[in-house]
């Protein structure tokens, strides 16, 4: 298995770098259409944003790790933070989009987006932080 690991400072300006690295790795994969690369890029952006915000919430200077693992039949991206964690199953539900109250909710769209965009998502949260594993199925890397 090939892996590319990136550690980014937990600051907003570095989320674009994480997107760039992950999409570069994804571009080398066979059978991965451009729109699926866009899906992965967006999911990574959402996961990194959550990670950075979880560090900011407790003034934590530590870096966020983004690891791309290339397997034969899939690409996995692991985003790890050292924040206080959260329960992905207990997110507040937004009112229906037709309800005017919906406009009171500017946040909370990231996790539903991640769930829709990738083939599998796994959240592991503990006192040590949160690890989000994003999986997208595709062929192996192009031969060099």
């Amino acid at each position: 298995m090939e892996a590319v690991e990136l550690e980014i400072p937990a600051r907003a300006e570095f989320v674009a770098l994480a997107r760039l690295v992950v999409s570069s790795v994804a571009l080398s994969r066979r059978e991965l259409a451009d729109d699926r690369i866009d899906d992965l890029k967006l999911a990574v952006s959402e996961a990194c944003t959550n990670a950075i915000e979880s560090h900011a919430a407790i003034d934590l200077e530590e870096r966020v790790t983004v690891r791309c693992e290339e397997r034969d039949d899939r690409l996995e991206v692991l985003v790890e933070d050292r924040g206080t964690g959260f329960d992905p199953m207990s997110l507040p539900e937004h009112p229906p989009v037709t309800d005017p109250e919906r406009l009171n909710f500017e946040r909370g769209l990231g996790i539903p987006l991640i769930r829709s965009l990738v083939d599998e998502v796994n959240f592991e949260t503990s006192d040590a932080g949160t690890a989000v594993r994003l999986t997208i199925y595709c062929g192996p890397a192009e031969p060099q």
């Binding site: 907003a12 300006e13 989320v15 674009a16 997107r19 729109d35 866009d38 890029k41 967006l42 952006s45 959402e46 944003t49 950075i52 915000e53 229906p96 989009v97 037709t98 005017p100 919906r102 406009l103 009171n104 909710f105 500017e106 946040r107 769209l109 990231g110 539903p112 987006l113 829709s116 965009l117």
Partner: protein, 112 residues
């Protein structure tokens, strides 16, 4: 990372053309610009997303906040977007039912 924000006026509406990537780093600038426009009395705003390469939930949140702010002034915020990759983000989140999304700036400024 640059975020281009240009404002013009057409048919009595403010047209805010956005270029670049809208994410957690750049979205605050978009929010500030929208707040400024509302403070200047621009209550009909068209946000042109045709030059946007990337938009995540932070950007969506700013647009939802802008719409809320404008509705409180009896105004409206409408969008111009034809790019499938950007439209998809609105579709997944159901926000295509919240925003009027037009194919061109001309169509957006002509709409009631």
């Amino acid at each position: 990372m640059e975020l281009g924000l240009d404002v013009s006026e057409q048919n009595g509406k403010a047209v805010l053309s956005v270029r670049g990537e809208v994410d957690v780093y750049t979205a605050p600038r978009l929010r500030e610009r929208l707040v400024e426009l509302v403070a200047q009395g621009k209550h009909q705003i068209v946000v042109d997303l045709e030059g946007v390469d990337f938009l995540d939930s932070t950007g969506l949140g700013v647009l939802v906040g802008g719409l809320k702010r404008l509705r409180s002034h009896d105004g409206d915020l409408t969008l111009v977007c034809t790019q499938p990759r950007i439209l998809k983000v609105f579709e997944i989140t159901g926000l295509t039912k919240v925003f009027a999304i037009h194919d061109s700036v001309d169509a957006a400024v002509a709409a009631d």
